[in-house]
């Protein structure tokens, strides 16, 4: 597919010095968000270290912090994809509960093989993603409403089919014995330490982040996703597969919530229906702080990872200082609104230039 439809204009020969090099200003602009976030994380860490008399810097504390970060990051990366395409997903928190609970019920209550139960959890996630995508891009309901609705719907469903119970492979219902090998394998998915006591979940986060980086920054899918989120009208006129891509974006978000849920279930050893609800705002705030725009078209893996780190640092630090859960709640509210205001400001700033 060449563009030699028009005669090559005279006097315009490709200049060898004419390299496509980003200018310094462009680099700084791209780095501003990531650099600013790094500085913020460092600053907050220093403050907590000082306020907690160094307790914050204990290796065990930092490792726990990393594990919490990985949960937020894995879900947040999926959410980033949805924000980049210009939609929003509020159902991931309850989907977290639904997918892990369906896996738990299938495995522990019904005695299905572990791998089938895990597949069930992933299938449920894709199904919910497809549900969200259907109402958003086929029926045409704003995704905010569609996913708010599906969130409540799946939470109710989770309570219904699980009998609102807590499940743990170590404590199966009376009369059922779990396969010890399966239990051990499942526990090992996340609850084991790598060298230096690094939680297994962090490795998962790194692998998943690499996949998302390939997807968002190196694939045709990611490139078009960004275009669709940046200007849906132009995308339609340019015949980009808008609906199909939105469908995949919602499915990816669902899948990452399910993966995070299974890993947490493996680590903690038990799961209850509302397990994911406390993750809604931290994840949301992390992604927006990381530079994903609520208006679509922007978002990066590095940004979301740093956003997740910042949120984990803050949650951990506040817990260390025994600030209490009320204060943490208030704080989350402030951070969430602040992140959106920041998004709005940078957007205006970009436009005014």
């Amino acid at each position: 597919m060449t563009t030699n439809l028009v005669d090559q204009p005279v006097g315009h020969v490709a200049d060898p010095a004419d390299r496509e090099r980003p200018t310094v200003a462009q680099f700084l602009r791209a780095f501003a968000r990531v650099g600013g976030l790094m500085a913020t994380v460092a600053l907050v860490m220093v403050v907590f270290a000082a306020a907690s008399d160094g307790l914050f810097l204990y290796p065990d504390n930092l490792l726990g912090l990393l594990r919490y970060m990985s949960t937020i990051a894995i879900i947040g990366l999926g959410l980033t994809v949805v924000l980049v395409v210009g939609e929003i997903d509020l159902s991931f928190a309850n989907l977290y509960g639904l997918s892990a609970m369906s896996m738990a019920v299938a495995w522990i209550n019904w005695g299905w093989p572990l791998w089938v139960a895990i597949l069930v959890a992933l299938a449920v996630a894709v199904l919910v993603g497809a549900f969200n995508a259907f109402f958003t891009s086929v029926v045409g309901i704003p995704s905010f409403i569609a996913t708010l609705g599906s969130s409540t719907l799946i939470f109710g469903f989770t309570l219904l089919f699980s009998g609102a119970q807590r499940f743990a492979p170590a404590a199966p219902p009376p009369g059922r014995t779990m396969d010890a090998g399966e239990v051990e394998f499942f526990r090992g998915l996340s609850n084991q330490s790598l060298p230096f006591g690094v939680p297994m979940q962090v490795l998962w986060m790194i692998v998943i982040a690499l996949l998302f980086w390939l997807l968002l920054s190196r694939s045709l899918f990611g490139f078009r996703l960004k275009a669709i989120g940046g200007n849906p009208v132009a995308a339609r006129f340019a015949r980009l597969p808008v609906r199909r891509y939105k469908f995949w974006a919602f499915c990816i978000a669902g899948l990452s919530a399910a993966v995070a849920a299974l890993l947490d279930f493996s680590f903690i050893g038990s799961i209850q229906p509302d397990a994911g609800q406390a993750l809604l705002f931290p994840t949301f705030a992390a992604v927006v702080i990381g530079g994903a725009s609520l208006q679509g078209g922007r978002g990066s893996v590095a940004g979301t990872l740093l956003g997740a780190l910042l949120l984990a640092v803050i949650a951990n630090g506040l817990a260390l200082l025994a600030a209490g859960s009320f204060a943490q709640q208030m704080f989350l509210g402030v951070v969430t609104i602040g992140a959106v205001v920041l998004d709005q400001l940078t957007r205006n700033w970009r436009r005014d230039r």
């Binding site: 563009t3 439809l5 045709l220 899918f221 078009r224 200007n231």
Partner: protein, 506 residues
Amino acid sequence: MTAVPGPDGVVIEGLVKRYGDTVALAGLNLAARSGEILGIAGPNGAGKSTLVKVLAGEVTPDAGTITVQGRPWSPQLGASRIAIVHQEPQLFPNLTVAENLLAGREGSRGGRPRLAPADVDMLRETDLLPFADHLLGDLPLALQQRTEIARALVRNADVFLFDEPNSALTEDESAELFARMHTIADSGRVVFLVTHRLAELAAHADRVAMIVDGSCAMVLAPPELTEERIARELVVGRAAVTRDDRADSRRDAVPLLALTGWTHHRAKFVDVTMQLGRGDIVAVVGVEGSGGRELVRSVAGFERTHGDATLAGRPVRSGGDVAFVAADRADSLFDNLSVGENLYIRQGPAIRRRLGLLKRSAATRLARQARSDFLVKTASLDTPIRALSGGNQQKVAIAAALALAPPVVVLEEPTRGVDISSKAEIYRLLRGFADAGGAVLLYCTEDSEVFDVADRAVVISAGRVAGELDCTEFSDAEMLAERIALLTAAIPVVGGSTHQSTGDAA
């Protein structure tokens, strides 16, 4: 009707409005007397709509003064004394006619507003009394418009500006509207009438001001005030961009795209038959609302239609056969992408590697090629698209579509808001694409663009093909524009489209 306007009318002096580099109003002078209907005519982009917006207070002019009945224009004055009657009434469809009449004048005493005797008189006078309790949104467009007029009359507006008021009305409704317009003028108010329909200007206006390039070129009064004269004046003094050598462009165009019985699902255009050959550049010409825009969009597959569209004998696959570029750059470019990315965003397999990865090298090569082929002036391909001039942005939008090398490209107003040199380059690029065997379908509202680039012009008016012109037969743009204006006017302006307007209102 108790308005007692002063003797001064409306005086506009030295009105200037710029949008970036584009000058919309270039020191416009215009005086309208009380008691007259002053028609306003001019080609698209001449500044008519900017003038309307300034009078309505939606746009602040950069310089100039407006005096209304001896008092300088101010936002308050604009809001209370100047009434703009649009094609689409800008009222509250969820309120009744009576409530619409009262909205904004409820007073501060709380409680539900009531119709004062004067309001009832006004409803009677405008024959709206039987509909007073109907929801506005349930009524036909004509009655909605009349409500807007009543609203203006009851608050004693003394300047009325009708902006393409009857483009969606039936013949009877239009006649009624014009009768009302004369009544308003006879009561000593100032009436402006902005319309593309030259016959109506000739029939109803007392004088007609010709707006060309942001200033008032002349004012026609009887006996010169005829339809032909307006059509002629509309095109005088418009410089033609260098016209390419069309003699050598292929006249033996092989039919490529054919439309038969092509009808819009909401009858925006009806039963269009048209052919487009390889090497052809065909312009669909029509004013806004004529159905021309919908026609070209339908060829690109973005409107629902009945009828047949074939490409080289087989049904058109709008996906791969036709590339489309919308008129508005906001609808064709991606602000969050760079110049280079905008150039290759439409590409598919050419920039795809194994596992769905993006083939950067191929993409950059394509972008470089397109940049040099289409003479896009940019510091680097990584420059944000917004940093480019309007003309260069438009070149990027068109280049991205042409680079796909589809059999047919469809473009809306390809040079709207573009500087003269970019214009000439865009025309050359389209010609090059056609010469390489492609077919180009344009939607144009500017006659000069038609003359400069098209081989043929399909004039569309009120959803029907009013005629087809061979542009190569015309030696200058004025003659072509005059023929187009006459063809447009030849279609019964308001008649013949009764079904359509009911369809639209539904």
